[in-house]
């Protein structure tokens, strides 16, 4: 029988000559094709399930407020707003508004969260004072995101076409008719600071991107 993996010299040879590498890269001798495909199939199903479960766990409010930065600041402010408690008993959790729902955008957001891990490790906003200092910047990021996607996360629940303008106040109905239903504006253009406090200009001059 001829060797399916010719031996090489040098650094590559060190890897390809390794007995484990050679075992992995040549056709199986003792394991049948049926066993290998079944094993791959089962491992694939298990991986898919585990991956999605992990993704869902990382998309819960409990996960978000696992860091005191979130629990002590923005989470406290959410309580008492209409998105926390209301007559219908339907409420929004952190990821409902702050994590995009389409898969690709969600994964991109999860990777962007590596910056939040960085912030956690180095204590970027580990005190109330530090948080208030960067709050205008953080708010500006989120507003820019929602303005760009035309309040996509709001519209996961709130459908302009399902609004009963007659049940709204005269002022609200007029504003929605003139600006929302014409497509001129979306939720975030007017409804800033509805789930968290609005930023107050910090003592320092750090107000770039704040409009």
């Amino acid at each position: 029988m001829s060797d399916p993996l010719p031996r090489r010299r040098g650094i590559i040879g060190c890897i390809t000559g390794n007995v484990w590498y050679r075992t992995a890269m040549r056709p199986a001798v003792h394991l049948s094709l049926a066993f290998l495909t079944l094993g791959g199939f089962i491992a694939g199903v298990a991986f898919w399930g585990a991956f999605n479960t992990a993704l869902e766990v990382a998309n819960t409010e409990q996960f978000c407020i696992g860091c005191h930065e979130m629990r002590d600041n923005v989470y406290q402010e959410l309580q008492g707003t209409i998105h926390w408690t209301n007559p219908a008993g339907v409420r929004a959790t952190c990821p409902d508004c702050h994590v995009p729902h389409p898969w690709t955008l969600k994964i991109a957001r999860k990777m962007a969260a590596s910056k939040e891990i960085w912030g956690k490790l180095f204590g970027i906003i580990d005190t109330r004072e530090k948080f208030l200092e960067v709050r205008p910047t953080l708010a500006a990021h989120e507003w820019a995101r929602m303005e760009a996607n035309r309040s996509a996360e709001c519209r996961n629940c709130h459908k302009p076409e399902s609004m009963n303008l007659e049940k709204q106040s005269e002022q609200a109905a007029a504003a929605h008719k003139a600006q929302l239903l014409t497509g001129e504006k979306t939720c975030i253009d007017c409804h800033k600071g509805i789930a968290h406090h609005l930023p107050t200009p910090p003592k320092s001059e750090q107000i770039e991107g704040f409009d």
Partner: protein, 53 residues
């Protein structure tokens, strides 16, 4: 030393199968998804947040 055409032992083949299916491929798959997300994140940093949907 192993000869050129020596067959791997059965235990080594089974163990390598286990390592590949529960560690190496899942790691590579996760890394691919991560790289995919990272690519979009970088794209959004350069070109602004994603548009209407």
């Amino acid at each position: 030393m192993q000869t050129a055409a020596a067959e791997p032992r059965k235990w080594r083949e089974v163990l390598m199968f286990a390592i590949l299916s529960v560690m190496i491929w899942p790691f590579i798959a996760t890394a691919f998804v991560g790289a995919y997300g990272l690519a979009f994140w970088i794209y959004f940093i350069l070109n602004g947040p994603p548009g209407p949907r």
